[in-house]
């Protein structure tokens, strides 16, 4: 875009909400709503990777689909490279969408089993010698050009995810949305795919919206992170700032619940949250986390906190922020050398 300057974000999401009617009265009018995404703001610069983390039902996948306008948002805006997708006509929307591609969790169901992988990938490729480009894409993702004529069932899960990535790269996107893209893979294969994505990011300057429930993977891969709970972002900031000094009580609980792969460190965490995530059909009033929060008081039931800026490019939505503990959730920092003997 001619008017884009270097500090204009590639993607800007403002006040984005997505609600679904889950039941209707006898006149067909919605009588109950599920607010899957509630007034989310975020920005993504060109070449940047933003991780979206949260537990099941927090709205992270709905957020991705709403950004792509696979669902029309109930409220709010998605501005991609200066273009408001909500007011763009169908042709313009299609054109913009080509530049934002998605890779999903399950590479088994994402590919048509009756088509060769070459023809699946070729769908998104435009202009010139499509066959040559498909071959180049296959090699780029670590497969061989000769695989184009083979069918999905001839590949392993990790290889199929490579195929999905090649297909997503077909239209030369600027933004790749990875929705739990490595979650179904074995850990040895997961590292390969993360390395592949990191290479693509480096070579093509791709931006990533990296949606995952796996916090360790997010820490390894993302520049910034946003933590979602029941449809809202509760904390966002540079990845290392958030992991080294999580501020929101939910972020602290979430990070400390992840088992650390080092037996000597077990049981030093244990900031156990009680209960489960409440149903998004009937979210708590005020702060949605208050029913599980060890620090909640009466005020948290009345007022919904909004994201407030802290000094370190961080935003946190918590009424009791000033009174809470901070710093790392683990007792003692451990050096890489000590933690990784091999």
């Amino acid at each position: 875009m001619s008017d884009a300057t270097s500090d204009t974000p590639l993607l800007r999401v403002a006040g984005l909400s997505q609600r679904f009617a889950v039941s209707r009265d006898i006149f067909g009018r919605p009588s109950q709503w599920l607010e899957a995404v509630d007034r989310v703001d975020l920005e993504l610069a060109a070449g940047e990777t933003l991780g979206i983390v949260g537990e099941s039902g927090c709205g992270k996948s709905t957020l991705a689909r709403t950004i792509l306008h696979l669902h029309r948002p109930s409220a709010g805006k998605v501005i991609f490279d200066g273009v408001d997708l909500g007011s763009a006509g169908p042709a313009r929307l299609r054109q913009m969408r080509r530049r934002m591609q998605i890779v999903m969790q399950d590479p088994y169901s994402a590919l048509n089993p009756r088509r060769t992988i070459g023809s699946s990938i070729a769908d998104g490729v435009t202009g010139g010698d499509r066959r040559a480009k498909v071959r180049a894409l296959l090699e780029k993702v670590g497969l061989s050009a000769g695989d184009a004529g083979r069918y999905p069932n001839e590949f392993s899960g990790g290889q199929r995810q490579r195929i999905c990535i090649a297909r997503a790269l077909g239209p030369d996107p600027d933004l790749l949305i990875a929705d739990e893209a490595v979650s179904a893979l074995d850990v040895s294969v997961q590292a390969q795919i993360l390395n592949l994505l990191a290479g693509l990011r480096r070579d093509f300057g791709l931006s990533f919206l990296f949606i995952s429930h796996n916090l360790a993977v997010v820490r390894a891969f993302c520049d910034r992170v946003a933590v979602m709970y029941l449809g809202r972002i509760v904390e966002t900031g540079p990845t290392e700032a958030v992991f080294q000094d999580p501020r929101h009580p939910y972020t602290r609980a979430l990070i400390s619940a992840v088992p650390i792969p080092q037996p000597g460190r077990r049981r030093e965490r244990r900031r156990l949250l009680a209960g489960d995530v409440p149903s998004p059909l009937d979210p708590p009033s005020g702060c949605r986390f208050r029913t599980r929060c060890p620090h909640a008081d009466e005020g948290c039931a009345r007022t919904a906190p909004v994201l407030e800026r802290l000094g370190d490019a961080r935003q946190v939505a918590c009424l009791r922020l000033g009174t809470l503990e901070r710093g790392p959730v683990w007792a003692a920092p451990v050096s890489q050398a000590e933690a990784r003997p091999c």
């Binding site: 074995d186 290479g199 360790a216």
Partner: protein, 335 residues
């Protein structure tokens, strides 16, 4: 470092029960599945012991045979060779009626997906009471009281009301608690937990792991934990068996395995796990090349050699199982 770790592990390290008689003993277990491609060896000579109060974890990637091992511990799959013995009695020699008594009473199992393990059209109370009365000479009222007591013990609030509910009325974490209550209601000596927290969110996983560990200490149950999650293993296990392509390739006390992994697969597996508690290093993550092999299409000799950076000519022959100093490794590098 090692000293520090054994302080934390408590039951781990030297006190892994090697001296005590095992409550569960598996010897040279083989399980083959009949498929369209012919007989496929899913488990190919697995041996291990479980002591009372011990958590023995079997860790491995998809298709390595770890769930088949779990099922064979309750004789839920046909064992083609080898032996599974509970307190000295071989499962294979038991009659059907005897097996029914042993399952639930002496060895119980919980699965990854608690929804599919509970009967959707019966109340929780019905299912719990039935399980309890199958194994214990209690009347309906006493069994119901026991069921409520167990639900309370696994952290279900208002158990007297919950007992009248159906599985779909519970969250995933609650259902897994009910499964644990059911499995432990007859105080079995062994609990087989196959990916018990894989379908759960991480905050709920932490609750369930803490619960399992408390119950193990309280009831003295030995746990066989099957998982692909290295973090869960580090959290829970006293001893760990690493499984690859139907075989245990390495076994050691948890602290030893993590501080000094010997098999190249174990080393690669541990190194490829991203750490939530450490800032990432520069450069790419450590990754093993290739994918786990399909059972039935295993390389000759050492099944890992096609992915192994240290493979040698001799690896075309099956590596021997080397036992010593409380650890086992199956690799030509350590011969």
């Amino acid at each position: 470092m090692t000293n520090e770790i054994s302080d934390h592990t408590g039951q781990g390290g030297a006190a892994t029960g090697r001296g005590r008689a095992p409550v569960l003993s598996v010897r040279d277990l083989h399980v083959r599945y009949r498929t369209d491609d012919g007989d496929v060896p899913a488990v190919n000579g697995v041996s291990f012991d479980l002591a009372a109060r011990e958590t023995y974890a079997i860790v491995g990637e998809s298709g390595c045979g770890k769930s088949t091992v779990a099922l064979s511990l309750l004789a839920l799959v046909p064992v083609s060779a080898g032996e599974v013995s509970l307190g000295g009695r071989n499962l294979a020699s038991m009659r059907r009626s005897e097996l029914r008594r042993v399952r639930g009473r002496e060895i119980a199992m919980i699965f990854q997906e608690p929804m599919t393990s509970l009967n959707p059209v019966l109340t929780l109370g019905h299912q719990l009471v039935e399980t309890i009365r199958l194994h214990q000479p209690l009347d309906r009222g006493a069994a119901r009281r026991r069921a409520i007591e167990m639900l309370e013990r696994v952290g279900i609030s208002d158990p007297a009301r919950r007992i009248g509910q159906y599985p779909h009325e519970l969250s995933g974490g609650m259902r897994q608690r009910v499964m644990i209550a059911m499995a432990l209601s007859c105080n079995p000596r062994i609990l087989v937990a196959d990916e018990p927290t894989t379908a759960l969110d991480v905050t709920v996983q932490a609750q369930i792991l803490a619960l399992l560990d408390d119950l193990r200490a309280e009831f003295g149950t030995g746990i066989v934990l099957i998982t692909h999650d290295i973090g869960v293993v580090a959290e829970m296990a006293d001893r760990i068996g690493v499984m690859y392509a139907g075989r245990l390739v390495e076994e050691a006390a948890a602290a030893d395995l993590f501080s000094d992994p010997r098999h190249p697969y174990t080393r690669g597996l541990l190194a490829s796990v991203p750490r939530v508690d450490l800032a990432p290093r520069d450069g790419p993550l450590v990754a093993l090349p290739g994918s786990p092999p399909t059972p039935g299409r295993l390389p000759q000799g050492c099944a890992f050699r096609t992915r192994c950076a240290q493979a040698m000519d001799v690896c075309a022959k099956p590596p021997p199982e080397l036992r010593g100093a409380d650890r086992m490794v199956r690799c030509w590098l350590h011969v």
